[in-house]
Amino acid sequence: MGEVKVLGSWSSPYGLRVQWALGLKSVEYEYIDEDLLNKSQMLLKYNPVHKKIPVLVHNGKPIAESAVILEYIEETWPQQHPLLPKDPYERAMVRFWINFLDNKDKVAPFITFFIGVGEEHKKAVNEAKELLKLYEEQVLGEKKYFGGEEIGMLDLAMGWMAYFGVIEEIVDVKILDAETFPRLHAWIQNFRAHPVIKKNLPDHDRLLQNYTEKRQRFLAYSPHTENA
């Protein structure tokens, strides 16, 4: 069905969503890893508006924005492993929740959890826990996956949770624990175990090293650092 390229970054959950989607649909693609501190000419050409990954390039035509890319993948390869339900109302619910969790306000607590300190950090922990509670009780509920019996588009969007444990390790604070969030915890195990996902998870040690350095850099320059 033509040449497929993915411009991504090894640890970006937004890029991984796209790789996972193509993997689930058994679509072959060429993966191009971008150094986000040194973006390639190709990336700038294919995504002049945002200059961000991921970008999917199909037969030379680029598509940016992970949510838009996922819809394109679903429409272009509809038969293999459908990522959206058939019913329009249920599809709307999936889109609603992807839109919700991608919202800057809903991502911020987890970022602050990672690089914040003091009061700011405490606040972020509480906000993050509230969001996780919402995801566990209202969005996942009793289902095996957010998509039901099979991984769906919403699971891919929630995929960042699958390696959130490394962040918790670095920060040395656990919020997504099995006792408080048994269903999310079970979901993480199932999601990570799926052969397509397992093949495309960022390496634990590499994440640990890379993200520890990243956090140290943020804390060193942060005006809020208690030790400063």
């Binding site: 508006v49 924005e65 949510a67 819809e71 394109y72 058939k86 619910m93 839109n99």
Partner: protein, 247 residues
């Protein structure tokens, strides 16, 4: 398993109810606010497709109805579309839903790539709407920055988004047009109140032409809030901001 039970029931238009849980004939309600560009884009979509609906005007922001809070507990905002009793919030999600349930007069093209381009621009413009309004309620240097930012945003929209097309959707109004439509009925009054005009025939000729085409469309023309009413509303909003600034 509701879907199985109603699988082969014929509706009054002799449409077979298939696997979907709603037909085009189920009752449609829209909770909106007269001045909101977010509910207006849903009204436009329904009107373009000739879908009958009951409109419920919400008293935003201080007196939201119990029903609205019940139908949108997550955000507690309008617009909310309720179809056959089931609520959908978030205007872009609502627009996609409407286009799927009532596929005639489509808001998205057929080709998957073209659809991705339309969705990209609908999302881009949607995310720039609040930044574009910053010039209206900021002061001094912050306002200057906001004004400069608007020129950058509009340049991107004109060059990369609209290009040489009549509408973002090509020859017909599409989803991105409905999102950008806020410039004719909400942004334009803001410009008037602040005395700053962004989209002029010499600054953004293609967007300027787009505004003319969009506002002349029979469905759009008949479904915009009264301009002077919006001006009054915005002036009232500015008064509140000014009072807050003065503490």
């Amino acid at each position: 398993m509701q879907r199985l039970k109603i699988a082969f029931k014929l509706t009054k238009n002799n449409q077979t109810r298939d696997q979907t849980s709603h037909t085009m004939d189920d009752e449609v309600k829209l909770f909106g606010f007269w001045a909101s560009p977010f509910s207006l884009r849903v009204i436009w979509a329904l009107k373009l497709k000739g879908v009958d609906y009951e409109y419920i005007e919400e008293d935003i922001p201080h007196n939201k109805s119990e029903l609205l809070l019940k139908y949108n507990p997550v955000y507690k905002k309008i617009p909310v579309l309720v179809h056959g009793g089931k609520p959908i919030a978030e205007s872009l999600v609502i627009l996609e839903y409407i286009d799927e349930v009532w596929p005639h007069s489509p808001l998205l093209p057929k080709d998957a790539y073209e659809r991705s381009v339309a969705r990209f621009w609908a999302k881009f413009i949607d995310e720039k709407i609040r930044p574009m309004w910053e010039f209206f309620h900021k002061f001094g240097e912050e306002q200057q920055k906001a004004i400069e930012n608007n020129f950058k945003i509009l340049k991107t929209i004109e060059e990369h988004g609209l290009g040489d097309k009549k509408f973002f959707g090509g020859d017909q109004i599409g989803i991105a047009d409905l999102v950008f439509g806020m410039v004719i009925h909400y942004f334009a009054p803001m410009e008037d109140v602040m005395g700053v005009k962004f989209i002029k025939v010499d600054t953004f000729p293609r967007l300027h032409a787009w505004m003319r085409h969009f506002s002349e469309h029979p469905v759009i023309k008949d479904n915009v809030p009264d301009y002077s009413r919006v001006v009054d509303y915005l002036n009232g909003y500015l008064d509140i901001i000014n009072k807050m600034q003065k503490g």
